[in-house]
Symmetry: C2
Subunit: 512 residues, 2 copies
């Protein structure tokens, strides 16, 4: 048996069989040289766990069957690997820092085992196993190359997000759930749901239904309360946290359709920081939404405020009365207030990096999400005591179609950090929705998000080898996605490119 443990051996990548698109690359593994097989009809699936983990795992195993054994046509065959035993030791909530590790062992014959601390680690292990399995059309068997496999795996960063924007274009629930399925395949574990913005307000509120009634694009481009629950539960069942973003004080034009009184008289581009009703309404909305968005974290935006919106008599008077000397300070006052509102209902807030660029009043318990390109910003956030999420405009903005997967793969969030790199929670791909709707969402997201996913999951010893070493695996992973109905664009070229000509999903380079 060949043994390759990443932290000890540098030539680890070779033995992953070409047909096995292990993506993202696991932390460490050993592989053998035997081709074995397993029969979906004969495979015994057993679970060792207490409820509710037991029930969750049984559902996950049903999904695993559908994802791993995609071809009808297998007949009953001898199945050297005859059982899969899954064990989970703890019942844990899906929250930031939940244990996502797993150990997967697939022998040449006998019992395969998957053990994890939490169901969320087990979900990852099942995705890994499904990537190892391939169908042999000639024999009609499902095969597994390179047995025995022993994989010990866990993520480099705990927060690996995809931002989806349902305000610039409405994204129906059926589209979001399909996307969550694809995210889970790449071990992306956070749906950062940028649910409302200036253009439309599709999010329902039970306390303030008028926001979506008047702020949605149309009568049909809205979510029901139950649909919010459905998305959250769908994500939870697949290990994907749903972190909603309610962007304030700017990016709120759609709020003005029902509540113009929350804005300065002469400007509808930002909520009025001098108006107590603003904080009251934000509090009511967050309280209401906190019952459906169960994640500990809520994103409050704070990006791209046009401060001139606040240059009016009322605000200037308010500043004088509160000893606030600049619009930057007024912004800091606002951020401090809304982060406090979130904290008061038991939520931790995430805010965009303007919160530390233009203010120094942001509470240290807030997570700062870096999007500006300034290379010192991430360090600044960390040094100020914040946890941080790194999603730089340009490299990790999926709406930038000129940014290739190779560009995205080369970004190391911790590259220039000197202090407290452990405070970097992770990062992700940001799918801003100006030109993205259900027709091109997956095509624009994939395969580029996969490059980010590997950066955030796999050890730096793998990803530092750069995109050339990863390309073959990524092409195989793209085939894996396509075979399962996920509309990933080609590997290579710009984002959202069509296939340049006839060819295999595996051989793009050869055919262009």
């Amino acid at each position: 048996m060949l043994t390759f443990v990443l932290y000890a051996v540098s030539t680890f990548a070779e033995p992953i069989p070409a047909g096995s698109p292990l993506w993202p690359h696991p932390l460490s593994y050993t592989a053998g040289t035997t081709r074995t097989s397993l029969d979906p009809n004969l495979l015994s699936l057993t679970v060792t766990a207490v409820e509710p983990a037991r029930g969750l795992l049984n559902s996950a195993l049903e999904r695993f069957r559908r994802q791993a054994f995609i071809h009808e046509g297998s007949e009953m065959k001898a199945s050297p690997v005859h059982s899969l035993e899954v064990s989970v030791s703890e019942n844990s909530e899906l929250q930031l820092h939940v244990d996502e590790s797993y150990v997967l062992h697939v022998p040449v014959s006998g019992v395969a085992t998957l053990s994890a601390t939490t169901v969320f680690g087990a979900y990852h292990g099942l995705h890994t196993l499904s990537q190892l399995i391939s169908f042999n059309f000639t024999s009609g068997c499902y095969e597994l190359e390179g047995a025995p496999w022993h994989i010990e795996d866990r993520p480099l960063y705990p927060h690996r997000e995809l931002l989806v924007d349902s305000s610039r274009h409405f994204e129906p629930v059926v589209v979001l759930t399909h996307l969550i399925d694809s995210m889970a395949m790449a071990k992306i574990n956070v749906l950062h749901w940028h649910i409302i913005d200036s253009q439309s307000f599709p999010a329902p509120s039970r306390i303030h239904p008028e926001f979506s009634e008047k702020g949605a694009f149309s009568a049909g481009e809205r979510y029901t309360w139950q649909e919010l629950q459905e998305v959250v539960e769908y994500g939870r069942a697949r290990g994907v946290r749903v972190v909603p973003e309610f962007d304030v004080p700017a990016h709120t034009d759609s709020w003005a359709k029902s509540h113009p009184e929350l804005f300065p008289m002469s400007c509808k581009a930002a909520l009025d920081p001098a108006n107590d009703m603003v904080y009251e309404v934000i509090g009511e909305l967050l309280q209401d939404w906190s019952e459906v968005f169960t994640d500990d974290v809520v994103h409050l935006g704070t990006d791209e405020l046009i401060e001139s919106c606040w240059n009016n008599t009322l605000d200037v008077t308010f500043m004088a009365a509160h000893g606030i000397e600049s619009f930057g300070d007024l912004f800091g006052y606002f951020v401090e207030k809304v982060v406090g509102i979130a904290n008061n209902i038991g939520k931790r807030a995430t805010v965009w990096d303007e919160s530390i660029i233009r203010s120094n009043r942001t509470p240290a318990n807030a997570v700062v999400q870096i999007w500006h390109g300034d290379p010192g910003l991430l360090q600044k956030a960390i040094t100020a005591g914040h946890d941080a999420v790194y999603t730089p405009d340009g490299p990790w903005y999926l709406d930038g179609l000129g940014v290739t997967w190779e560009d995205m793969y080369k970004i190391d969030p911790a590259a220039n950090l000197k202090e407290a790199p452990g405070r970097v929670l992770g990062g992700g791909g940001e799918m801003w929705g100006e030109t993205v709707d259900p027709s091109d969402l997956e095509l624009t997201v994939w395969p580029r998000l996969a490059a980010i996913a590997e950066r955030l999951w796999s050890p730096v010893s793998v990803t530092s080898q750069g995109p050339d070493a990863a390309r073959d695996r990524l092409e195989a992973f793209r085939c894996f996605l396509l075979q399962r109905g996920v509309g990933s664009g080609p590997v290579g070229g710009r984002g959202r490119d069509a296939p340049p000509g006839p060819g295999s999903c595996l051989q793009l380079d050869l055919l262009v």
Copy 2:
């Protein structure tokens, strides 16, 4: 009640409520002015039919529930329309010319009725009904505007196809079935499955497994036999005939990977007409495939032969021995032979229009599919006694991205016919796959295929009003598709265009 019967009244289009994307437009209808509602949990669904129609309808009603009632969140409400009774009078096979008519009546309150001769008509009626239903997010009710509705509907043409090409790029079954769902929503009733071509041979044969073993793009880009059955059955259950195309004698390079002996020594661009083995193998393949592709029609291609491929000693000798004086005659000999092979196993053949352009030996029972732009070709085929399918290169080729939906909508297959227009079976959209794979298939097909679908279904009195009169309904239909996870591109612009900027699926014109 307002009464609008198309053949009598010219101002029929107005009363279709803006929110009801009736697409394609029905043959005739009357509508009222009442908004009624129906509760998915209370709606009683009953079927009057004998088996197997009864079972098929019950499955269709389950699909109808999912398609019409897409939002979770409805609570039990009073449901003025409390029942839907579906009746079908005949058990019919899904074949060309099957009766697709239906009569749908939705009262202001009480029992809605859908009656059809066949289940396939009933399927269409259920799609129509689902388009009339909308969700009111404020009341939590499913509503129906313009009751009472009385719709009598049937297609203008019996053959309304989408060609899908799984040779230039592999299209997995999950992609094909999702596409079939979307086709049924627009009452497209034929999947013309261009399953093999020069680039790859993903179709399995039980008699000759070597073709796909060696001719597929890769080990995984193939179909199993059971998957062929799955696609055929999936289509049948939704009223979509699956007509496979096995293109001969050209477009066969992928055959040469396993059977180079079927080609002339010096040319692998066309099967050798002088080689008896060619007809034997074609016969064996067609016989095998006829057991899974149950449609009466099989497409045999015959397009784009490069005759110089046959300019060799063997073929020239063969021509002399058989009194064949030109390569055109040799082509005619080939077409006659393969159409005869299909006939001998009980199939009717469809052939591309080269069969009548370059030969006059094509048996009259063959359907001729017109793709060349020559305006007299369709008449020529009909005058020669053929049934014909009209899918002109340019206007109805979906791979032509510069062709807009408006261009497609303006095409009337029967516009210039003087003789026997009844022999025009229909037409369709041709999604050649050079730059189309699962990532952009639906985006390239929709919404433009919908324009063709209406041309082929709706009365000329509607479609002759042109695209301007249809645009609002098409935008609503696009929203209908998006809400159900079908990735239709925007209405307007080139094929496969991304949304040009933020906006509603309903308001594209306003926002561009």
